[in-house]
Each structure stands twice: as structure tokens, then as C-alpha cells.
């Protein structure tokens, strides 16, 4: 994976495949502490203790199509390369929370990549079935995208309507630019 936005898309797709209807993505850049924290929380089917213990093993997967599962091990590797770590909390039937920490200015810390494209892809392809809350903070400055609020405002117009997607894309780009 070239950047964090692709890791985030991958983990969010895992959440969707685990039956999640709500995914919260939080990126927190604490420049003073030099820590970047990524948190992804879903309300999917969750994992039992035994599965959590195996989930960072690339040769463990719950899928049947092929017997490897690289998504979480690759994110863990990305965190490790930037002197960070990963923490996975999950409860069967309740959901999963993944927290990855990175040294913010570490030379091997992956760039953010195109977060707008990741969010728009999730909304465009799965937005009718799931809600996405995306929050990106740099110190005290935060941008928040909440598809629940947007859907309420849109009323009968689907959130994946092309005109809506085009508007959301511009607004996310603008919002992220303002906090950077």
C-alpha cells in the first residue's frame, strides 16, 4: 500500500464485509507530541478473543477464497516502520476498533494519500447501506464529515447521487485543505 488512505479504505472494506452499518474514521495529528493516531471503529460482527490473537498473522483469514489475510498485518507493519504500534479491540456481536499510532515526522511514516477519494469511494459504492463519520484533526483544528447528518438533509435524494458526490468531494477537499 502506497499511503494511509489506501490502508483506511482496506480496513473500511473489512468492516463492511463484517456487516458494519456505521464506520468511524479518525485521524489525529498531534504535532506537539509528534504522534499521528488513526482510529477506525465499526459496529460489525466483531471478533472473539481467539480471532483477535490471530488477526495480525498474514496466514490467518476468515475468508474462503484464499488462505491469506494481509490487510491488518500490512497496517501493523506500516505502524511499526514508523516506530508506532497497533491495538485491536473487538467484541463479538458489538464491533471492532483499530488504533494505529505512528511517529508523525518519522521518515518512514506513510503519507496520508488521497483521503477524499477514499471517503467518496466508500460513499459512492456503499453509502446507501452504511454511514461514514470521518474526522481529521491537526492539533486543535478539526474537519468532520458525517454522512448521517448529510442523509437527513438530503431527504429522499440518495447520498450516492452523482451531483451529491461531486459536491461532497469538493467540500471534503476544501475542509481538509483548511486544517492543513
Amino acid at each position: 500500500m502506497e499511503d494511509l488512505s489506501l490502508h483506511i479504505l482496506d480496513i473500511a472494506e473489512n468492516s463492511i464485509n463484517a456487516g458494519a452499518t456505521k464506520i468511524e474514521i479518525m485521524l489525529n495529528e498531534d504535532i506537539n507530541q509528534n504522534i499521528l493516531t488513526l482510529k477506525i471503529k465499526d459496529n460489525g460482527k466483531g471478533m472473539d478473543k481467539e480471532t483477535i490473537e490471530k488477526v495480525l498473522d498474514p496466514f490467518y483469514t476468515t475468508k474462503n477464497v484464499r488462505r491469506i489475510g494481509l490487510g491488518l498485518p500490512m497496517l501493523a507493519q506500516a505502524a511499526k516502520e514508523a516506530e508506532g504500534n497497533i491495538d485491536i479491540k473487538s467484541k463479538k456481536g458489538k464491533g471492532t476498533t483499530i488504533i494505529a499510532k505512528f511517529v508523525h515526522n518519522h521518515i518512514d511514516r506513510k503519507p496520508f494519500g488521497n483521503m477524499t477519494e477514499t471517503i467518496i469511494n466508500l460513499i459512492g459504492s456503499r453509502g446507501l447501506d452504511i454511514d461514514i463519520i470521518y474526522q481529521h484533526c491537526k492539533n486543535e483544528n478539526c474537519f468532520i464529515f458525517d454522512s448521517i447528518e448529510i442523509k437527513k438533509e438530503l431527504q429522499d435524494i440518495p447520498i450516492n447521487n452523482p451531483g451529491v458526490l461531486s459536491f461532497l468531494k469538493k467540500e471534503i477537499e476544501k475542509g481538509l485543505k483548511e486544517i492543513r
Partner: protein, 129 residues
């Protein structure tokens, strides 16, 4: 905290309502972009972006764009499956933005399978909700 300007959505909502009055049609086609780890690492996000943009530009309101996990053939990613009502599904492999646009124009709009990009044609018939 900077929030997305919800108020501006009213204009978009009204505009969408005016332009999508005929949007009650049943879906005619579904395109599934395979977004497993392998697909994403191979460039599936670009394929999905190109597809969403093109479907929007052409106002194809009877085409569903969705995603799924790994299809089991990681070396041929990015992959997409095209399903057209009452026709067998077709799996396309080694996709690029240009290829998916051609597939949209030729297969989804005109109904001609793009054989040079296709891996396999299924035997079952597709029924779209």
C-alpha cells in the same frame, strides 16, 4: 471545528430532485469492483473512482456501482464483475481507468462484452433487485 456546510446541500438536493425525476427505474446493470487488500494495492480505488465519475457524467441511473472483497485471483487485480439483467456475469481483469471506461461504454451501455479484457463469462443468469 470545521464541518461540511450542510446548508449548501439544499441546493444540490433540489437540483438532484429536478434531474432525477425518472430515477425510479429498476436497476439494469450492476458493476462490482473487487476491493480486497490485493485489489486496493493493485489500484482498484482508481478504477472505482473512474467508474463512479463516468456513471455520473453519463447519468446512468439504472447502473449500480458497488464493491466486494477479494475474488480469489489476486494476480489479476484490479478486477470487476459486470452483471446485466438476464445475462451471465462477466469478470474483467487487469483493469485500468481506460479499460473500465471502455467496458462501461461497450458492455454496460451497448451490451457488447469486451472480450479482450474478460477473464470468464459465468453460466448463471443475473437477477437484479
Amino acid at each position: 471545528m470545521k464541518k461540511l456546510k450542510i446548508g449548501d446541500l439544499e441546493k444540490i438536493r433540489d437540483k438532484a430532485r429536478r434531474t432525477s425525476s425518472l430515477r425510479q427505474n429498476k436497476a439494469r446493470a450492476r458493476v462490482t469492483v473487487h476491493m480486497g487488500t490485493c485489489g486496493i494495492a493493485a489500484g482498484a480505488r482508481k478504477i472505482l473512482t473512474a467508474l463512479l465519475e463516468e456513471v455520473g457524467k453519463k447519468n446512468l441511473d439504472d447502473v449500480i456501482v458497488t464493491t466486494s472483497g477479494c475474488a480469489g485471483l489476486c494476480s489479476r487485480e484490479p478486477m470487476a464483475t459486470v452483471e446485466i439483467e438476464d445475462k451471465p456475469p462477466v469478470k474483467y481483469v487487469d483493469l485500468t481507468k481506460e479499460k473500465i471506461k471502455k467496458i462501461l461504454n461497450e458492455h454496460i451501455i451497448k451490451g457488447n462484452i469486451v472480450k479482450e479484457y474478460a477473464l470468464a463469462i459465468g453460466s448463471e443468469r443475473t437477477t437484479l433487485k
